[in-house]
Symmetry: C2
Subunit: 343 residues, 2 copies
DNA sequence: ATGGTGCCTGAAACCGGTTTCTGTCAACCG
DNA sequence: CGGTTGACAGAAACCGGTTTCAGGCACCAT
């Protein structure tokens, strides 16, 4: 019945065997006679013995745990990341530790503290400084998630820049728009930085002048509403608002509709992520689909493999593909065929 | 320089002292002469020694970790929970493990597995069955978060039913509405169950007939869109849609606006949570504010205290207050004073 | 009878810390 | 001078597992 206080030695005593035998029976390693096995299993059963995780971990010099470090938790993007990460970790019997740095100044210490408790860590790009990242990497296996790695540190990310270039080109070329705004803070994360770069690149390749500055706001829906107010306040509203993610886009959409604008007739809006809501709002959102769950799952797999086979060279960085999803908010007719659009 | 491979005994050897002294110096316990302290600190500094967490935890018989168990991760509610929980755990030097059961059938085993790795667990109400909850409680400190406890298991929740009764009464009495629909699955979680109960109670106390059945959908924005389609499809649309949370409400709002309805003129919509977006949509959402972060922080505190002082009797269950937030989506004029409304 | 071979088993070492317990030594007191 | 006290240091036990290593034993071939 009872459970947590009973140890191997206790079980060994009760079964009249050595602790080695108990361990062998429990783990199914080595050779154990049928008689011994029966006696041990009986004692285990009767006292509800389960080996202490700390003891096991100490002996194995492995924590059986993976860490995930965020700047802060917000929106479907991060929840998807967590779940993708978990979907790989849990079957591998690794628990998932999470840490939100919130950009606190003691967050470096906290990340290093986490490193003492896990076998590997996935860090969301832009969350911690490079020196700390490197120190981390000499303690545990590290992967940068949604960002660029650093020499020894591999990364998993998506092809943000090309995707954003395709999307922007679609607006500039196929819809003939000229006055685009970009909403999102490129300094906030590598993802955004690359999307901003892709946005600029599309302008450059067409010899058009992009806006000098993005509208720098955070990544959540309310921030989009804020951005909409800022953009639509003066008379000089842009023709299109290219948003760094869907959440911002949904916020901008709410803000625009709230001011009586028609989308896409009066204002074109695009997002990034293809969040579940993107397809459901009116008008449905033109966006870029990225495999967020896969991204995190891939990161977890990378870490688990490296932990499993420590000798192996640091794995290469991985870039997952994205997909342009054209809906109605860019001005395309609803249900437009996707073929042949934007290159 | 190096770090992770160096142990107490190594440092002891290098400093020419015993391991006991190294431990005393590091922890600042006991009496150590200035000379010894200096030698030890020098060796520690030079080799970048940090005590192994597993060794410490094993000796202390404490993991220094807390667990958080979810059905699945979705929306701002859960991210707020995580962050509230973390805000208490991290300063207490406890790491946070998370587990999404996704209602998998092996989730019981996974929760029990988690119990071997943490000092205490907060379980979101309705996530695991009562027998498992009780088994869990004999292994570690357990708190039910947003749900009712079970005898020995304390809980932290909000006054869902009274709050929903107040909100419903506001619609029935102050706005004279008669045909209300409830969107949300009462079997999905104790929270929703209580809100549905509160909704029914308001009807009962006014001798009115509530709808026989709620519209059973999940808790995210897309589900609200779905519910809107379902409710508004036939000619028999209700006068008001009372949603189990803000996310559903925002989805219903999007769905309703998409069908050309005016809110609140043609359809009244209310939510629950007071999520950030609630105040920003048009019309702003009438809802109930609940202290989600505090809820989780309180749960973490409960666990930490219990772990700190194991002798103490199981703490009482805690019910945090909520607040009715009247905005425009219920039909009240924008910026209406809150005083004197709904009791 | 002797030696070799495999199968089982348990004592002991190990993982990396903390803590108790014993003992030394100097200072202080009568 | 002998005895008490207190500060300090280290040996060893402990936390709860796993794994190595050596030995006992049965069986078989020579």
């Amino acid at each position: 019945m009872g459970n947590s206080r009973v140890t191997v030695r206790e079980i060994a005593r009760l079964a009249g065997v050595s602790v080695a035998t108990v361990s062998r029976v429990w783990n199914g390693t080595g050779q154990v006679s049928e008689e011994m096995r029966r006696r041990v299993l009986e004692a285990i059963e009767e006292h509800g013995y389960r080996p202490d995780h700390l003891g096991q971990a100490l002996a194995a010099r492995r924590h059986g745990a993976l860490g995930l470090v965020f700047p802060g938790l917000s929106g479907p993007y991060f929840t998807e990341l967590i779940q993708g990460f978990e979907s790989e970790a849990v079957p591998a019997r690794a628990s998932v530790h999470i840490l939100c740095t919130h950009m606190r100044e003691d967050s470096d210490a906290q990340v290093l503290e986490m490193a003492r408790r896990v076998d590997g860590i996935a860090v969301i790009g832009g969350t911690i400084s490079e020196p700390v990242l490197l120190r981390l990497a000499e303690m545990v296996q590290v992967v940068v998630l949604a960002g660029r790695g650093t020499g020894t540190v591999p990364s998993v990310s998506v092809d943000n820049a090309p995707a954003m270039t395709r999307l922007t080109r679609h607006l500039l070329v196929d819809h003939g728009l000229r006055d685009l705004a970009f909403v999102g803070n490129p300094d906030g994360s590598p993802d955004i930085s690359e999307r901003w770069a892709g946005f600029l690149a599309a302008h450059r390749e067409l010899a058009l002048t992009p806006p000098a500055e993005p509208v720098r706001v955070a990544m959540q829906q309310p921030d989009g509403v804020l951005a909409a107010e800022q953009l639509l306040r003066g008379g000089a509203a842009p023709q299109a608002v290219v948003c760094a993610n869907d959440e911002i886009a949904l916020g901008v959409l709410v803000g625009a509709l709230g001011r009586g604008l028609r989308v896409p007739e009066d204002l074109v809006i695009t997002g990034f992520d293809d969040a579940p809501m993107a397809a459901l709002v009116s008008p449905p959102l033109t966006t870029v689909r990225q495999p967020v769950r896969d991204l995190a799952a891939e990161a977890a797999r990378l870490i688990l493999n490296a932990v499993e086979a420590p000798g192996t060279a640091a794995p290469d960085s991985i870039v997952l593909p994205t997909e342009l999803v054209v809906r109605h908010s860019c001005g395309c007719p609803t249900g437009a065929p996707l073929g042949g659009i934007g290159q």
